[in-house]
Structure formats: structure tokens, C-alpha cells
């Protein structure tokens, strides 16, 4: 604990960088995946699934350093990390989103269409709200993995909480590594709790114990 108190402002700075690195992948990746899951036509699904599950398997450090060769970004710095984490978020969230949307009863969708809703209205007012529980549980997985995976970005020169692992290891300061572990864990748990609350707030009919949909 002494190490942490002596370096609290340093850790806070790293945590802030860490947050700024993960927020874009989590938000942008999820939106892309949710919209994609709804827009991709049925006959493209097997292809998209195959590509995304292959992408999901790529080790993060390998993707961080392969991106410059593929798309010409600089080797060191946060750009590759943000892009790679976004790709992982899309790959993970796409499957959760498809599952969530497939659980919306087709009778409900037919009813909404019969009431004269357009496809856009159907999506915004019926499918999206009803898919929220599934989408939130997918988002919780995405946020936790993104926050912990971002630490590896330190290897390619991003000064986030992962820097505590590298520096703590090189200088033999176990407290520094433990601080990093705890800090990443706390941020991941905070995202998790926030998303859980968001899910409750967005589906008040579930919290009231009314009919569960």
C-alpha cells in the first residue's frame, strides 16, 4: 500500500489514459456490432460469423503490431491499440447482439408491423428495448475484456495501467504490479456495475416485477 500512496497521482494519470483508450472501442465497437447484427442480411451471416470468430482468436499483441503493416498506421502509439480493441469489441458483441435480437418474439414484431410501424420504428421502439437484457450482458463481457486487454498496449508504448506491469517487473516492485492488477480490476468492475445499472434503468418494466419480456 505504501507504494500506491507514494505514487497515487502517477497511477491516477495512467488510469485516466487507460480510460481514454478503452472508451472508444467499447462505445464505437458496440454500436457498430449492434447495428451490424441487425443490418447484415441472413445470407451473409455465415461469412461474417466465420470472419469475426477468426478475428476474435488473434492474440492482441500480434494484432497491435500487424495493423501498421496492414493499414499503414505508425508502429508505436495508441492508434493501433484503439483500432484493434474496437475490432475485438465488434467481434465479441456481434454474436451477443444477434442472440439478443433473435430472442425478440416474432409475434411481437409482426404485431408492431401490423400496427403500421416502419422498419426503423420497429428497430428503435420494439426490437432494441426488448433486446436490452441480452445486449447489456454482451456489453458487460465486452467492457471487462477491453479494459483488461488494453493493458497489453503498454508493450507497444501506450502509457496506460499496463505500464505498471512492465515497470514493476523490470524494477522488481511487486507492489507496482499488484497496484496495476487492482486498478484494472476496479475499472472493469466499475464498467460492469454501471452497465448493470443502465440495464435496470432502461428496462423499468422488469424491475417492477411486471411481465418479464
Amino acid at each position: 500500500m505504501d507504494w500506491f500512496f507514494a505514487n497515487a497521482s502517477f497511477v491516477a494519470g495512467l488510469a485516466l489514459t487507460h480510460l481514454s483508450i478503452v472508451i472508444v472501442p467499447i462505445v464505437l465497437g458496440s454500436i457498430l456490432a449492434i447495428v451490424g447484427a441487425r443490418l447484415v442480411r441472413a445470407r451473409w451471416v455465415p461469412g461474417v460469423t466465420a470472419v469475426l470468430s477468426a478475428v476474435y482468436a488473434i492474440p492482441s499483441l500480434a494484432l497491435f503490431v500487424a495493423l501498421p503493416a496492414l493499414i499503414g498506421t505508425p508502429f508505436v502509439g495508441p492508434t493501433n491499440v484503439v483500432i484493434a480493441l474496437t475490432v475485438y469489441a465488434v467481434a465479441s458483441m456481434f454474436f451477443s447482439a444477434r442472440d439478443a435480437f433473435s430472442q425478440v418474439p416474432s409475434s411481437t414484431k409482426t404485431t408492431a408491423t401490423a400496427l403500421g410501424m416502419s422498419r426503423f420504428q420497429l428497430f428503435v421502439h420494439v426490437e432494441l428495448p426488448m433486446a436490452i437484457p441480452g445486449l447489456i450482458s454482451g456489453l458487460r463481457v465486452v467492457s471487462a475484456t477491453t479494459v483488461s486487454m488494453a493493458a497489453i498496449g503498454a508493450v507497444v508504448g501506450v502509457r496506460n495501467l499496463g505500464y505498471l506491469f512492465l515497470d514493476g517487473f523490470q524494477r522488481r516492485i511487486p507492489e507496482e504490479i499488484v497496484t496495476g492488477l487492482v486498478a484494472v480490476f476496479v475499472i472493469a468492475i466499475a464498467f460492469d456495475g454501471g452497465l448493470w445499472l443502465l440495464g435496470r434503468a432502461l428496462t423499468p418494466w422488469r424491475a417492477r416485477g411486471g411481465e418479464r419480456v
Partner: protein, 219 residues
């Protein structure tokens, strides 16, 4: 700074393929470490998952481990263990860290495999007079195989990604080319190594995915 022709030249040079830090050796090492870790994790997770699924007790352990492990950065875990047990035991630390990463998904896959077997099947096995062990061995284990392999696939992805970090604690594997290449600013080596890693991971995970589908038609 980096070009495709440099990359091709790097791949074409036999120096980069042979020897202790050549691609062949590192590839073999990477695969061997991954398999060893998965084996250790399976020895722990498989019986435990079957037991939890069979008795229905301890579900919280499966779910809790699953969500906690996602939030723990594997790099920090590895470094902490190596510092804790000393650099001389770093290969043991690596295997323990990797097994720890692989256990939660394997456990979840095994547990889900057992609990998603329709109750009718498990009840009729009981009604036949099968003992608890017989039901696990001849009914629950075979029917849970596909889901177990699904868990194995997630575990494989996690482990193979973490082995990439092994050179940071002075061990080998294909990550060596990335870590050394970044330090030396030899970006052909970095990209070449990462491409090899990407290929073997995708091949491995597709293979496990194929096996998972192959074993899925039992019900």
C-alpha cells in the same frame, strides 16, 4: 521504415527460420507451451466441471470464476507470479498463469455441457439403475463433449495470446520476434512474427470449432 518487400525478404532468409530463435523452434515452443498449459487446466477443470454439473452444487464457482477472470489482465498475472516465485522458476510461473487463465472457460464449458443435457435423458439413466459414476462416465461426459470443446476453444485463444507475452519475462515462443523486433526497430521481424502467430491461432481455433461441430450431433 517497413515495406512488403522487406517482409518477403525476411521470410525468404533461412537465417530467420533456423536456430534457437528461428521461426521453427519458436513455433514448436509456442505450441508446446500452449498444449502443456491446456493439459494442466483440463486435468483440473474437467473433473471439477463434471462434478459441479452432476451434483448441481457449486454453480456460483463457475460463474464467479468466469466473470472475475475476464477482468484480470493476463500480463499482470504472469508478471506477478514470476516476481513472486523468482525468475528461476519463471517457466513454472508461466504454466501456472496460463493454466489459471484456461481453467474458467474449460470449467464453464464442461458445466454447461452437463447441465444442458435434457432432464429426461439424465433421469432415464438413473431409472435404468446406473450408479452415479456410470451416469457421469457413460451419459453426461459423452453428451457434454461438444460444449467442453467449445470451452477448450476459448481457453486455447486466451492461452495462445498470453504465450505471446512470455518473452517479456525472458521465455521463448513466437512473441520473441515481436518483443525483440520492437526493441531493435526491426519491423519486418515484428510483422512476420505476428503474421505467423495470427495464422497458427486462427488454424487452431478453427480446428477446435470444427471438432466442436463434429461432436455436436450426438443429441
Amino acid at each position: 521504415m517497413f515495406s512488403i518487400s522487406d517482409l518477403a525478404a525476411w521470410f525468404a532468409d533461412p537465417v530467420n527460420w533456423d536456430g534457437r530463435y528461428g521461426l521453427w523452434f519458436l513455433l514448436l515452443e509456442h505450441v508446446a507451451i500452449t498444449l502443456a498449459a491446456l493439459l494442466i487446466a483440463t486435468i483440473v477443470a474437467l473433473p471439477l466441471g463434471l462434478a459441479i454439473g452432476h451434483t448441481g452444487r457449486g454453480e456460483f464457482l463457475v460463474i464467479g470464476l468466469g466473470s472475475i477472470s475476464r477482468a484480470v489482465p493476463t500480463m499482470g498475472l504472469l508478471f506477478a507470479l514470476v516476481l513472486l516465485w523468482g525468475v528461476q522458476l519463471r517457466d513454472v510461473s508461466l504454466l501456472v498463469a496460463l493454466a489459471a487463465i484456461a481453467i474458467p472457460p474449460l470449467l464453464a464449458g464442461t458445466f454447461a455441457g452437463v447441465t444442458t443435457i435434457p432432464w429426461g435423458i439424465r433421469d432415464s439413466a438413473k431409472a435404468q439403475g446406473m450408479t452415479g459414476f456410470q451416469r457421469v462416465r457413460y451419459v453426461e461426459f459423452p453428451l457434454a463433449t461438444s460444449s467442453m470443446i467449445g470451452g477448450m476453444r476459448i481457453a486455447f485463444i486466451q492461452v495462445v495470446s498470453t504465450v505471446v507475452l512470455a518473452p517479456l519475462v525472458g521465455l521463448g515462443g513466437l512473441g520473441f520476434g515481436i518483443v525483440q523486433g520492437l526493441a531493435l526497430r526491426n519491423y519486418s521481424q515484428v510483422v512476420a512474427s505476428s503474421l505467423v502467430i495470427i495464422v497458427i491461432t486462427i488454424v487452431g481455433s478453427q480446428l477446435l470449432g470444427w471438432l466442436q461441430r463434429r461432436t455436436d450431433d450426438r443429441l
